[in-house]
């Protein structure tokens, strides 16, 4: 039920593992001399925005049928009482999402959000080749995606040589991401979107950045970015690998 690339709210799934997986995969892809583009996405509308039908589906999936009524009542009857400074107290009836203080909220959100991400993976599967890790036990795991709560780190293996072609693929991928998650009521925070290109060859990263700027793209192409509190950049991975 929970894919290996999800790293939050569950026993044994920790933030450090999410950071480590990306560093290891980057080291492997560097050794294999693969061109990659790393996307670090954050959400603007996440926990409190999950549409109610999705929450109900998740409730049916995760909770026993005899207990599902309790969570349905929480979704319908939830009231948030606010007491602002200098104003009268008032009540708000949330129409979507989960209360962040509620115990089941994170798990319900995660399950719904994973369904959206899986939809995106299927729809964007033809754009970039998948990056899979082979477990010593024989299992194949997705190595290019790490999700921690609502933060996703996606590593795309690039086959296109021309920066223009690559940019078109990236536009399409981003559009599919938005569409897949919009169905659940979520929205990407574009102000926090970071793209770390790791293209082999001198100046290719800078050329990609220049072409994107010329095209009017507002993404931030950066040499390093903060991922789950740690700093992710190519040189660090290379030095650690060496």
């Amino acid at each position: 039920m929970w894919p290996c690339w999800f790293h939050a709210y569950l026993p044994g799934r920790r933030r450090e593992a999410a950071m480590l997986v990306q560093r290891v995969v980057q080291w492997f892809s560097d050794r294999a001399e693969l061109d990659t583009v790393n996307w670090l996405r954050h959400m603007k509308k996440a926990f409190a925005s999950t549409l109610r039908p999705l929450t109900e589906e998740t409730s049916d999936l995760l909770v026993e049928a005899s207990h599902a009524a309790f969570f349905e009542q929480r979704a319908v009857n939830a009231v948030v009482r606010l007491e602002p400074h200098g104003a009268d107290r008032f009540d708000v009836l949330p129409q979507s999402g989960n209360l962040i203080g509620a115990a089941e909220g994170q798990v319900f959100f995660s399950r719904s959000y994973l369904a959206g991400l899986e939809k995106w993976l299927v729809s964007s599967g033809c754009l970039f080749p998948p990056l899979e890790l082979l477990h010593p036990g024989g299992q194949r795991c997705l190595g290019d995606l790490v999700c921690f709560a609502d933060d996703t780190f996606m590593k795309r293996v690039v086959c296109a040589r021309a920066p223009g072609d690559l940019l078109l693929q990236m536009y399409e991928d981003d559009k599919l991401f938005e569409e897949a998650l919009a169905d659940g009521g979520w929205l990407q925070n574009r102000d926090k979107l970071d793209v770390v290109p790791c293209l082999k060859g001198s100046m290719r990263n800078k050329v990609l950045d220049a072409v994107a700027k010329e095209d009017g793209c507002k993404w931030k192409f950066v040499p390093h970015a903060r991922h789950l509190g740690g700093l992710f950049f190519l040189e660090l991975v290379q030095s650690q690998g060496a």
Binding site: A48, V63, E64, S66, H67, A69, F70, F71, Q73, R74, N77, A78, V79, V80, R81, L82, E83, P84, V92, L99, I100, G101, A102, A103, E104
Partner: protein, 152 residues
């Protein structure tokens, strides 16, 4: 739609009362109460609490007074949960009352409205945004019902 209180009560009684005493519900209620109290005792006792509930420590003192382990047996006063005829009777009575509430919750499939009530706090996000974009909403809910729902 106008709701007539008496009619609504009569409807609820007619709907749920015929279930009668069911040992399964009693067993579920007993298990839930025990697990919830254990979890509350083991967890952090929050100082802050909404106005419709008492703080966790006070609640535990009244319902599960032996939550704080001590080196000797208390025979009287606060914490004497096994002393028959003394304060302990009152604590056991609290537990029984609470167990009846949980039994009814399982029987009726309904939780009290306060279980879904949250006290919200708006704190500054620190991103320089104005209005709601610059604020984060924190929720403070009843710990008992929160843990009850975790254990379901």
């Amino acid at each position: 739609m106008e709701i007539v209180f008496e009619e609504e009560c009569a409807r609820m009684i007619a709907e749920h009362m015929p279930l009668g005493d069911d040992l399964n519900f009693s067993r579920l209620a007993k298990r839930d109460l025990r697990d919830t109290l254990y979890r509350m005792a083991a967890g952090a006792k929050r100082q802050a609490s909404p106005e419709w509930r008492c703080p966790s420590a006070v609640f535990l003192f009244s319902v599960y007074p032996s939550f704080c382990s001590i080196g000797y047996k208390v025979k009287s006063g606060l914490g004497a949960d096994s002393f028959v005829g003394g304060e302990g009777d009152r604590f056991l009575s609290c537990q029984n009352e609470l167990q009846l509430v949980l039994e009814h919750v399982h029987k009726a499939g309904l939780v009290p409205l306060v279980a879904n009530l949250s006290l919200g706090f708006l704190i500054d996000k620190g991103n320089g945004g104005n209005g709601l974009t610059g604020q984060r909403l924190l929720h403070l809910t009843c710990a008992f019902w929160r843990i009850f729902s975790v254990l379901l």
